[in-house]
Each structure stands twice: as structure tokens, then as C-alpha cells.
């Protein structure tokens, strides 16, 4: 069984059990985005968490074991995908990327925001003109090593 086949099994069982990602995350005891990223084959979890996932979803042992392995990361098969929801993040990088670079350098100096020591949250903000998606990214600043 490949990691992709494990993801397929997860999607089938999640649908059959009418579970949301939120439900699974609660059962696992971790953040929904991170849990979803593991279940979609982009991260790995500890055996105890995999066991809880297995119990909640009724996963096979093989798929459960794969959740603890380090996957080949990168979920999208093209550099830029056409799906409008995902594409907008590419657009934000294109339109605001150079501004983000300037402001981070101004606030922190030469370095980057880590995408590894990194967490993310998505919330729904009520708004009379239409509710809003609020995404918070939180990554450690890594200063460029000078040697």
C-alpha cells in the first residue's frame, strides 16, 4: 500500500462515517489543519495518534502504519494549480510576496519565516457584508547564519 492509497482509504472511510476533519482532530487531540495534513499524506504522526485515528475511522493496519512514516511531501502535482481556492495563495505570493519580504526584513533582519517550525489556524469571522476567512500563520524566524 502506498501513501496515496492510504489517503484514498481515509477519504472513503471518513465519508462513510460522516465525520468532519474537526471530528477526527478532536479524537486525535491535535489541531484540525495539522491532522488533516497528516491524513492527506503531508506529515507524520506518533503511533498513539495514529492509533486514535485508526479507532475513529476504522482504518486498516497498513494505512495506520503509513501515518507514522515520513512522506514525500508536496501535495500538488504542478507548481501552480488551477483550483481557484488553492490558486489564490499563489496569487497572494505573487502580489504581496515582495512586500512580505520587505516587512519581515525590516522587523527581523536577514532571514526567513520557517515553514517547518510552523503552525497555522483557519477561523470563520462573521461579517454583515459576508463572512471572512481568517488564516493565521505562525513560524519561527530563522536568521541567516553568518560564518
Amino acid at each position: 500500500m502506498t501513501r496515496k492509497e492510504a489517503t484514498a482509504e481515509i477519504l472513503v472511510k471518513k465519508k462513510a462515517a460522516k465525520l468532519s476533519w474537526e471530528d477526527i482532530a478532536t479524537a486525535v487531540g491535535a489541531h484540525p489543519i495539522w491532522v488533516t495534513s497528516v491524513l492527506l499524506g503531508q506529515n507524520s504522526m506518533a503511533p498513539e495518534m495514529a492509533a486514535k485515528t485508526q479507532k475513529k475511522l476504522g482504518l486498516s493496519d497498513e494505512a495506520t502504519a503509513l501515518l507514522t512514516e515520513c512522506p514525500m511531501k508536496g501535495a500538488l502535482d504542478k507548481d501552480v494549480v488551477a483550483d481557484p481556492l488553492i490558486y489564490r495563495f499563489h496569487e497572494i505570493t505573487q502580489v504581496y510576496g515582495t512586500s512580505i519580504k520587505e516587512i519581515i526584513h525590516e522587523k527581523f533582519g536577514d532571514g526567513i519565516m520557517s515553514a517547518i517550525d510552523f503552525t497555522m489556524d483557519i477561523a470563520r469571522q462573521a461579517d454583515p457584508h459576508g463572512d471572512r476567512v481568517v488564516i493565521t500563520m505562525n513560524g519561527k524566524f530563522l536568521p541567516y547564519k553568518k560564518w
Copy 2:
């Protein structure tokens, strides 16, 4: 004068005047990221704001006028750039993009987070293990039209 040449003039005058983007944004009376995005040629501002920018930076009339025009947006000349700070946002899209899609659809239904009716903030979060970059994106949810 092209918009690129206006940006070059801005960068030279900003350095000569030892101003931060924060300083300029305060003078303009708007958010530093948005002001920076205008000054880097990715957005347009009202004439009053352009006038304040001109005064703060000592910009030429030609460059000032260009700030009020709708630019050809997209600051990066390649789909994926090598600069590590900017690249990490591409990596986040690759690793977490499918999870973001799942969670937004779960919370909001079929649609997207707008990158047009959109704001962004960057803050420095003190942390004993190394300070952290906190980026907040706030975009209107746009449900897919069914007709």
C-alpha cells in the same frame, strides 16, 4: 517613466532618507503592507495618499502619478522563485494547500477566500526559543455562484 522605474526611484529615495516602510505608511495613514505593495508596483492608491507619499519621500511628479494607476500585478518573474523567504510561502501552499482547501470547504462550503477583498498583517511575537513571525490573512469568503 514605467512603473518599474518609479519603484526604483522610490527605493533610492527611501534609502537616502533612511526611512522605513513603517515610517512611510504612518505618513500615508494606511497599513505598512498595503502601502509597501503600492510602492513596489502591485497596487494603486488615491491621489491624496500619493501626495503624502510624495511629500515624505520627495518623489518626482511622474512617479507620484504612477502610484495612482492600476499596475500590471504579479511582482515575481517566475512562477516559483528561489529566494528562500518568498519560497517558503510556495512550500506552505504545496504542503498545506490541500488541507486548507478541506478545512475552508468544511467551514464555509464550496467557494474561496478572496485575494482581492483581502487584508494582511505581519507581527513579531516574542518567544524565548526565538521570536516568531505571525502573519494574519483576512479575506472575504466568496461562495461559488450556482445559476
Copy 3:
């Protein structure tokens, strides 16, 4: 069953039943282009509409359920496809794209035509020199947020 397999089932059953997209759209009670876009895996419909589609086409429960899920959008596997009918829309964007940009900015200011809050119609216009295809696109203008 993946969304692609659902589309394949739909095409087989549509042909067997000798139904046009127009016929199916009438049964569903929505616009033919939008209904076609759902059936080709590019949009999602409400369960009631999926039920009507199922009834009209004799779809399996699995394919019917998939019609209510948010798909990974983007039907073409390349940025530019060779099919002449579809390619012509790429050509229109190449030849008239900058003019469209100028005219929309002139009429509306800085912003875009939404492709989400968006509808489309295709009509046949009789013409002695050869009938004409008339496509009407109707998208909400989204002004660029300034913050």
C-alpha cells in the same frame, strides 16, 4: 470512486439515454452550462439537484454523492491545450487581455471581474454569413481592498 470515474459514468449514461446537456439541465432546473460544469467535475450541486440528476440519468448512488462534494477544480491538464475550440479562449486572452484590463479599469477602477460570483450563457445567433456563437460572461466587480 473518484470524481473522474463519476464523470465517466455520467458520459456513458448520457450517451446511452440519448440525452443532451440541455435535457439534463431542464430536469435539474438550472442553467445548462452550470449543470454541465458540475457533471464534468468542476462544480458542486445541492443534494436535491443531485437527486434529480440521478433520476434523469440513472446514476449510481456513489456518483450522485460525489456531485455534492467540492471538487479539485481545473479541468485541463495543461496550462494551454491544443483543442482548437478551447484554445481560442486562450488566444482571446492573449490578443485582447490587455485591452480588457484597460477598459475594465477605465469603467470600474482598480479591481477584477469575479470568476466565482460569475455566470455565463452561450447562444446561437442566426446570421446569413454563417451563424454566430454569442457568449455572455457576467461577473461581479470586486474592487481591490485598500487597508
Copy 4:
């Protein structure tokens, strides 16, 4: 003088004269989108129209002459550009392209909508929820030759 330099001259003079594309089109006596496409180097006009353009804008003889020549068409230097306004047309082709293909074949048979024997209009439609951009494309149907 290249066609690109002629376009640059036109943009400078249009701004100096505070003319809209609409103004110029009225002077030329043709549709604003088509006139804009000529002035942006994507189409060619008859000498009489070029003369009216010259008069309205105060163009050089060299730039005026270039307006009557057949240009190398295709205004965008990449297959897919990041500018959000223009990108949305690529997105529409990705999301609705296969549906458009199905519906045109259903209504007309095997063939295409011409992008040469083709006109286009852009209008502003007032709407209490936000005004809308209405784009009408009108192209001759060309049936595939069978021989």
C-alpha cells in the same frame, strides 16, 4: 521605432492629454475594445483611422504608420500571467472550458467559435449587491471541414 515603442508613446500622450480609451474610440469612430487592441499593438487599423488617432493624440508620424501594420500578436509574455484581472480569464477557461466545448458542440456540431471573425463588448451592469462586469463575445461558428 518598434511597435512596442509606439505603444509606449501612445500611453504617454494619452495620459498627458487626459484622454480615456472611450474618448479615443469616439474620435476614431470604432469600438473602444477594438481601438484599444490596435493601440496596444494587437491589431491594425486603416490609414484614415490611424490619421484620426494621430490627430486626437498628437502622435508622431512613425507611430501612426505602425498602427497600420500587421503586428506580431499576443500581448502577454507568458502563457499564464499573474495579474489577477487577466488571470481570471485563464481560470474561466480552466473551470468552464470543457463545459463550453460540450455546449457549443451540442448547439452547432463539430467546429469552433472564431477568434478572428470576432467582436467583444464590455458593459457595466448596476446591481445593489455590487455592480457587475458583463462581457459579450461574438464569434462566427466555423464548422470543421470534412474533405
Copy 5:
């Protein structure tokens, strides 16, 4: 059955029956290149012609029906293919394309040679220094619409 599978069936049956494309075209009553293009999945034919093809080749009903449908055109999976015979046409476009453009514009004005209202013939020309391939392309000139 997909159109690709229909093509595979055709190739197998053509080989088994030791028929040339010429033979099939004669049976169908149309030009060999056009008939071949239909059989290779790039064009569609009328039911009567499909029936003649079926009879000549002993095709299945399913494959026969597919010959009457409008295919997704574009037989090559890459923009430029390595096969030397096909590549040479790309090379001709690269080396002579700008000359062809100049000469057509000189003879006809602004517009294009249609690839839809288009026929093609291939003949063998005897030559003592080695026989020659003579390809004749015949496409309607489409003048660019001015509106």
C-alpha cells in the same frame, strides 16, 4: 470505451486486415488524410461514413459510435515532440514562420489562414535525386474583424 481505446481497436483491426489508410479512405469515400485524422481521434465523421468504416474494418459498435463524436483534439502530448518526422513541421514553423506571416499579410492583409476551413494533401513526386514529399495545405483566408 474512450476515444483512445477506439483508436487502439482501429489500429489492431487495420493491421489484422492488412488494410492501408488509402484502402479505408476509398471505402469511406473521403480523402485519406481526413479519414486518418478521424480514425486517430482528431476529427468526427457522419454516421454513414462511420458505418462504412465499421464494415471495412469490422469495428465494434462502440468504437463506431465514437467516430461520430467531437473529440478533444490535439494528438501530441507535448508542445514539441521528438519524433523526427513530426518535429520537422515544428522546425519549418520556427525557420519559415515569420516569412510565411510576412508573405500572407502582403498577399491578403491582416488575418490568418484557417486551420478549420482547411484541407491538406500529400503526394509522392518522383525525382532522380530521391523522391520528394509534396504537401499542399489549403485554408480559407480569414480577415481580422474590425469593429
Copy 6:
């Protein structure tokens, strides 16, 4: 002076002298397409022909000398260009390329049509439904060497 600059000089002088490619070809004593291909930097001519070209156009000695040198061929800076006239030849290769391959192999065996030992003609064919472009390509068949 580079070959590109020589081409630019030629285009300027041709326009100033109001000469057609046909006129120049007549003066040179060779076929208009081939002469145009040399003048656009895609082929080389003998010194006598270059001298005739110089006389007809009033070319500089430097540009004249360049016409006799073997250029780096390939006039288009991208594999597939957006210009509709030139693009149609790419489309023909995509839609009819596999049929051309089958028919040439059927008529000649394994090998290719040379694009080097190759000539081409373009003619205008009068037609009441709209005149037609007739392109004749004539290339030596080169059988694949077996050794």
C-alpha cells in the same frame, strides 16, 4: 552589428522604399519566401544575391555582409507563439501531425520529409466563399539509414 540589427535595418529601409517582399525577391532573382527568410535572419545567400539586395534596399555594407553568413536559425523565441497566423501551423501539427506521419510512412516507408532540402510556395486562390491560402511544401524524402 548583429544579425538582429541587420534585420531591423532591412525592415526600416523596406518600409521607407515602399517595397514589397515580392519586389525585393524579383530584384534578387529568387523565390519570395526564401528571400524573405534570408532577410529575416533565417537563411544565408550568396554574395551576388546580397549585392542585389543591397542595391535594391540601399543596405549598409555591414548588414549586406551579414546576409552571407550562416545564422543561428529559429525565429520564434518560444516553442509555441501566440500570434494567431503562426499558431495555426502549430495547431495543424497537433491535429494532423499523426495522420501526416501515417500517410508519409504508408507512401514512402520509414523516414522523414527533409526540412533542409525543402522549398515552399504560398499562393492566393480565388474563391467566391472567400479567397484561400494555398501553401505547397516540397521536401526530399530521407529514408532512415539502417546499418
Copy 7:
């Protein structure tokens, strides 16, 4: 059976029979590189040679028949492959390609070395500092046609 499947059958049977390409070429009575190119699906051979190949390898009739057909040539699925042995030939083209062009033009005039009327040999040259690979390419010079 596709040509790819025939190649797979050949590789399996060659390994089972512990035959080298040299052995097969000797049985066929032709050069090892050319025979290998046919067996890897890049060239076609006469029925007598295919029969000898069949006998030596114990090939199926179907695979044997495919060896006599003109394949879609081009063995590598990418323009530039990572395999170090094959990549070095790309590197030679990058580093020495412009020199090769200059020297061939100097020795022969405008034209090319044919890759069709072409043979190739690979030999092992003993050398105390490490044996050397000696590749000899022999292609007919094709002068560019002037017409």
C-alpha cells in the same frame, strides 16, 4: 500489444537468454547500435531481420511484427533527462554545440549533419590512465536548399 510492451518482452527474453546486444546484432547481421535502437522501439527493421531476431530471442509473433513498423520515435520522456550517462550528451551539446556549428559551417557551408542518413559506432579504447569511450558519428551533410 504496443511497441513499449514489445520492448519490455525483448528485455525480459534477452535477460533470460543471457544474450548481449552484440550477440543479437551478430545474429541479425547488422550493427549493434542500430539493432539496439530497433529493439528499444526507435527504428524499424526488414521482416527478414525481424525473423532472425525472433529466432535468437524466442520473441512472440506480435512483438516480431511490431519491429517492422515505423515507431513514434524519441525514447526519452523529457527534453533533458537526469541519467548521468545520457545527460552528458546534452552537456556536450550545451558546451560544444556552438563550436560544432561554427566548424561544420566553415568546412561545409550552410547546412546540417543529417541525423537520418546517419550511422554511429561506439568503441573501447585502451588507455593506461583509464580506458576511453570513442563514439563516431557519421552523417551526410545536407546543404540548405536555396530556391
Copy 8:
């Protein structure tokens, strides 16, 4: 002065002095292909050789000095170029690359032909059916290190 500008100076002076690459190579005392590769900016030569080149061509001191520096190698700005003479080497790699790989592995084992410890020669072979280009590549076999 960049290496590209040095190459431009060399080409101008070579033409003015009516020297062939062969002439220059003789003056330098090395092989014409290698000397040409240095002069086209793809290799570096010892100061004595650069001095001889300078004397023969009347080069500037600056260009002469650049000949002794290690250049950024890779003369072609695209992976695959359209120039027919150079393209044929790409085609040979596509059509015969997998055969070359098989034969070298059969004769030498796992490893590659070096493109660094490498020489090349081009000769003209008289032939009544048209003279032939004979290219000999000679590279050290490098066995893959096993550790």
C-alpha cells in the same frame, strides 16, 4: 567587459581579418574545436595561448585576459534550441540515447563517458552521394564509485 562582450569582439575581429577558426587554431597551436570553444566563451586557455590569440586577432587586453578565466559554461539559452544543425544533436540523444546507454554499459559496466576528460574532432569525408560529416567523441570512461 563581460565574457559575452569578449566573444562579440572576437567575432568582429575574426571577420575583419578574414580568418577561419582553423587559422586561429593553428596560430594558437591547439585543436580547432577546443580553440573555438574557448573563443565562444565555453572554456579557458593558458596565458601563452591567450597571448597568441591576441596577436593573431589583435584583441584588446581586456578580452585577452577574459580568455584565461573559467567561464559560466552552457552556450545555449534554452534546453532545446531550434537551430537545425544544433537540434540534430538533441535528436540523436532522443533517438539513440537509450541505445548508447545500453552499449556503453555492455562494454564498460556501470559508469559514464566523461564530458570533461573529453576531446572531439570533426572531419569531412568525401562521398559520391554527398560528402559526410564525421564527428569523433573521445571521453574517458568513469566507473561509478561504490563505497
Copy 9:
């Protein structure tokens, strides 16, 4: 069985036997990175080593035999992959590649570090601020041949 299928078998058996790459390398008697590269289909090993691998992992004869064959090398299906661990090596090449080039040329002259006569080691270095990955690459310097 293809080499890819052999790799899949190896991964399954390694997991079932709960062996590390280190364990297998010890059994084989070679360096873990090199052994891993063979087992992942990027290098070939001698029959004795393949036999030891077979014994340790319980491999099939077919997979074992494949380990002794020269594979088509290049494990990544794209030039740049999104997996963050592997991507960082691309980033190092982008950020430090030109510096590495300068320093190697300064220390060794014109030439390269071989990637064939090459070994590599990875070690864990304890560090109170977080342990470090230490990678040592050791490749023979190959001076550019001058001839």
C-alpha cells in the same frame, strides 16, 4: 519486474523485517548511503552484495537480479521537487552555487567535482542548540581537458 517494482518490494520487506538502512548496509558491508541508493534504484551492486541483500531482506530472485543492473538514474520526476528536505539541496545550489564555483576554480583551476567518482557521508552532530546534520561530499577533481 521493473526496477521500480523491485524498489517497492524492498520497501515492503524492509518494513516487515523492521530493518533500518544502516542494518542492511552492515549486512552488505558497504556505506549506508550507497547501499540505499542501490536499493532505491539509483546504482548497481556486485552479485555478492546483491546476494547478501537478498538474504537480509528475503528478496525475490527477480528483484535481486535487478540490483546488479545499471538503472536509468535520476530518482525525482521533476527538476525541482516540493519535498522540503530534498528541496533545501536545490536551494543551497541556488544560493551558494556561484560561490562554490568560484572557490573550486580558485583552489583547483578550470574543472569540476566529479559526481561519479564520488562518495558521501551523513552524520549527526550533537549541539546544545539543536543537533546538526553534517554532510560530507568527496568527489575527484576533474580538470577540463585542453586539446
Copy 10:
């Protein structure tokens, strides 16, 4: 002055002063690779170090100031460059990248080697069979955050 122009000035002055990168690094008091990376526009240094660089090289104030600014990193204008020395690092990533991934995960768990908190050294190792390049990369292991 852009960062690229500053690099050009540095290269000219380094050559005029006959300084090695080693010499400059000694004057600056930092590692030659890191200093070179700053001088080639890929990193930034403190004002004191920039002052030492200025003194050693006789740099202009403008170029000196640029050395302290955070550059847009990524020195290579293509994902994969043809220069053989730099290309070999791409090849190592292709051939050994998956092995490196396996071994790092085995030694450290899920995470990456940082390319930011990272140092590198290049040494010359004497060897009777030809000296060797020894590259040591040292990067902090960053475990993937689980949240």
C-alpha cells in the same frame, strides 16, 4: 545602483587588485564561502565587515552600502543550469536525494536540514589518483512541528 551592478564592480576591482576570494575573506575575518556569497549578492554582511571589504577592494560607497542589504536570493536564472560544475550538484540531488532523505529521517526523524542555519566548507584533499574536492555542509536539524 542595483545589487547586480555592485557585484560587477566587485568582480572588476578584485581582478584589478589581483585578489583571491581567500584574500578578501581574510581581510573581512570570515569564511571564504560566506564572504563570496555576500559579494556575489546572495547574503548580507554587517557594516563593519562591509567597511573592511571596501578598504580591501577600494569599493564605492554605494556598492559597500548594498552589501548590508538583504538581497533577493537565488543566483541562477534557471532551475537547472548547464554549467557542468554547478550542474553536478543538481545531479547529486537527483541520484542521491531520495537516499539522503531516507538516511536523515532514519537518524533524526521527520524534519529537514536547515539551509539557513547552515555553514559550508570546501577543502582540497591530496590524492595520488588525482586530488579531491571535499565539501562539508553543516545545517541544523529542524524537526517538523506537530500542533
